[in-house]
Symmetry: C2
Subunit: 122 residues, 2 copies
DNA sequence: ACAGTTGTACGATGGTTGTCGAAAGAGAGG
DNA sequence: CCTCTCTTTCGACAACCATCGTACAACTGT
């Protein structure tokens, strides 16, 4: 009996995605870091994300992202693997995920082209 | 003495915009309606938005949008005019606003191309 | 000066959210 | 069977948020 029996691990259908739920899910630094990490690596286990919160808090953030339809989670033995629902998001809201994550990455490491050089990030 | 003396009506600079603040500001239906309306009409007075909330609630939403850098407000006599900060947003986060509002409009009125015809929105 | 319009400030309230610790479930491996 | 690892659930808590009513301030027109 797989571990998913414990809770149904519900995912919304692709045509049920709500853009306001998605924006809310992405408006948190921890969750945005999760999404950003998943854009680079296609699939990761829960415990391998570069975030600094308690495990129970991480579970909460995964649930918010999953119920908003941003990520998909599957079980494999003891691990829970997480993927980004890129195709579903792209089909329903073209360009949205790219625009948001690109904006976040641009903000996190601003372009060095500006005057004054890189300096120290404030 | 203009009305703006009462409260400073602070706007963040273009290079201070935080994408997480912006996403949070846009993750509310009332505020998204305000932004959507401003994309069609360049400038509107506060009381002319097609939203159904109390005036004090509307003031709150305008403040959230303004402090996130999404809108700009200026005073003219008794009215407070609101504009979208399209250029500032585009300069800092290219394509973000368009992607978000387009996604919202697509969701609000889904394409009729799907099988089964328009039907009644659930 | 007076009343009407427009929008804000304040306080309250019920709901949501991010955070954590403690306890427990499910699987892997000895 | 026992232990270890990974992740979840539960309960709690402080902070935040959307909403409203009431009172008020600034401007407009008469």
């Amino acid at each position: 009996m797989p571990r998913s029996q414990r809770r149904a691990l519900t995912h919304p259908e692709a045509d049920e995605l709500d853009v306001l739920d998605i924006l809310h899910a992405l408006s948190d630094p921890t969750r945005m870091t999760i999404v950003q990490t998943l854009r680079a690596d296609p699939e990761r286990a829960c415990g391998t994300f570069p975030v600094d919160v308690a495990p129970s808090t991480l579970t909460h953030h995964f649930r918010v992202l999953r119920e908003a339809g941003v990520i998909r989670q599957r079980e494999d033995g003891n691990r829970r693997w997480t993927t980004l629902r890129r195709d579903d998001l792209e089909a329903r809201f073209p360009g949205l995920l790219d625009a948001v994550v690109t904006a976040y990455e641009r903000q996190a490491s601003p372009p060095v082209s500006a005057a004054g050089g890189p300096g120290q990030p404030h």
